[in-house]
Symmetry: C2
Subunit: 239 residues, 2 copies
C-alpha cells in the first residue's frame, strides 16, 4: 500500500504508473439557520494544519461507498447519516502535490436532532465562510451544497434534514438554512402535503412556556430518495 508521501519526493504526476484513489465526504447539516460542513484538521503533510474534508484511501476489495463509510466512522457516528450519495470523481493530476490521486466525493446529510460526538481534530464549520481548505475541497464543498439545494426542490431529500417526526416550523428552519432564503411555513406545508411527501403522525407538540397553539407532528412518508417533480415541463400528454 502506498504510504502517504509527505513532500519528500515531489515527483510530477506523470512519473506515477497508477493513481491512488481516495474517497471524501461533504457532510452537511443545518444548525441555527446555517449550513455547516464537517471538517478535519490535517496533522500530516501535505497541507498540514489546513482543514480538509473527511476521507482517505480506498482499501482492497471495498466499494467506494464502503470506503467513505469506513473513513467517516472515525469522525462521526455513521448511524446518524440520513443520506449518502455520490457527487463526482475529480482527476486533475495537479490536484494533489505529491501523488497522482483520484478522489471520489460523496454528499452526506445529518438530520437535525442528532448531535453526534466528533473527535477533537474534527468540527462543524459554517459552509458560507469556511477556513482555507486543502486541495480542491472547497470546490467540492460548494458542489455538495448546490446538490442539496437543487434536490430540495424536486425530490423528497428534506427527509434527510429532518428527524423522524417534526413540526412544520422545525422543518421550515431546515429548509431556510439549506436554501439560504426565506420559506413560508404555510406554503411549505401545502407544497409537501400536496405532493404526498408528508403525513401527519396524529400527535402534537405541546406549546412552550410562552404559549401558542400546539403544533401537529408530521413525518416523511418515505425516507429514501425519490424524485417527486420529474417533469417541470414537457409532461407526457394526457396526464
Amino acid at each position: 500500500m502506498t504510504t502517504s508521501a509527505h513532500g519528500v519526493e515531489p515527483a510530477p504526476a506523470a512519473t506515477w504508473p497508477a493513481p491512488t484513489h481516495v474517497t471524501l465526504a461533504v457532510v452537511l447539516r443545518v444548525r441555527e439557520g446555517r449550513v455547516q460542513v464537517l471538517l478535519w484538521q490535517r496533522s500530516e503533510e501535505p497541507c498540514r494544519g489546513r482543514s480538509a474534508l473527511p476521507g482517505g484511501y480506498l482499501e482492497p476489495a471495498e466499494t467506494l461507498e464502503q470506503s467513505i463509510r469506513r473513513h467517516l466512522a472515525q469522525k462521526v457516528d455513521v448511524r446518524e447519516l440520513s443520506h449518502l450519495e455520490q457527487l463526482e470523481t475529480r482527476s486533475d493530476p495537479s490536484r494533489h502535490p505529491d501523488e497522482w490521486q483520484l478522489a471520489t466525493a460523496y454528499l452526506g446529510l445529518v438530520p437535525s436532532g442528532a448531535d453526534p460526538a466528533v473527535p477533537s481534530d474534527t468540527a462543524w464549520h459554517p459552509v458560507d465562510e469556511p477556513p482555507v481548505l486543502a486541495f480542491d475541497h472547497e470546490d467540492l464543498t460548494l458542489a455538495g451544497r448546490e446538490r442539496l439545494r437543487a434536490k430540495l426542490s424536486y425530490t423528497n431529500i428534506g427527509f434527510a434534514l429532518a428527524p423522524e417526526s417534526f413540526t412544520i416550523s422545525e422543518l421550515r428552519n431546515q429548509y431556510v438554512g439549506a436554501l439560504g432564503h426565506d420559506v413560508s411555513a404555510t406554503n411549505l406545508q401545502r407544497v409537501l402535503v400536496r405532493r404526498g411527501l408528508l403525513e401527519e403522525t396524529g400527535e402534537r407538540r405541546e406549546p412552550g412556556p410562552s404559549g401558542g397553539r400546539p403544533a401537529a407532528l408530521y413525518r416523511f412518508r418515505s425516507r429514501r430518495l425519490e424524485v417527486t417533480d420529474p417533469f417541470a415541463v414537457l409532461r407526457p400528454p394526457g396526464d
Copy 2:
C-alpha cells in the same frame, strides 16, 4: 501497466493491491425517433464477442475526461460530440471478473445531422432493446438515458441533440425520441422561446416537394449546459 488478464489467473479482487481504472462513455443520439447508443464488439476476454461501451484504461497524467476523449477518438469523430459530462463511478469489486477495476462513466451526446463514420467493430444500437452487454454496462446505459431525459426538462441540454440551426419540427423529433413520448411542436416552441433558450436565425427552410409553409430556422442561444428552471418550487420570495 497491467495488461488485460484474460481469465488466466482469475484472482479474487481482494488479492489486488490497487484497482485499475477505466473510463467509459454512454454515447447517445436520436435517429428515426429512437435513442441509439454507441457499442463496440469486444475481441478479447473476458466477455469476448459481447457488446460493450467504448472506453479503456486511464493513462498516467491524464484526467478522466481526457482519457474518455482519447478512447472515444478511436471509435468516433470526437469533434461531433456536442456534450460530455460525468455520470458516476462504479466500484463493485465483482463488476469485473479478473481484476479490481473502477469505472468512471460519462454521458456523451451526438447531434442530429452529424453522421460520424465508425470502425467496423462499432455500431449504433437502439437503447430500448440492446444486445447483452458486458459487465455493468447495461445499467450504465440506463443511467445515461435517464440523465438525458431528466435534463431535457430543466436545462438547455437540447442543444446537444440539435444541429447549429433547425426547424421546430426537427427539434421536436429529437425531443420525442429522447423523452419517449409525444411532444407537441406548438408547445415545445413556446416553452423554449419563453425561457429564452431559442432564437430565430431569420432564415427559413424551403418546403419539400409536397408543399407546406416554409419553416423558420432557430438556434440555441447558448450551446453550453445551463440550468434554466432552477426552482421548480420553493422559489425565493418576492421574485
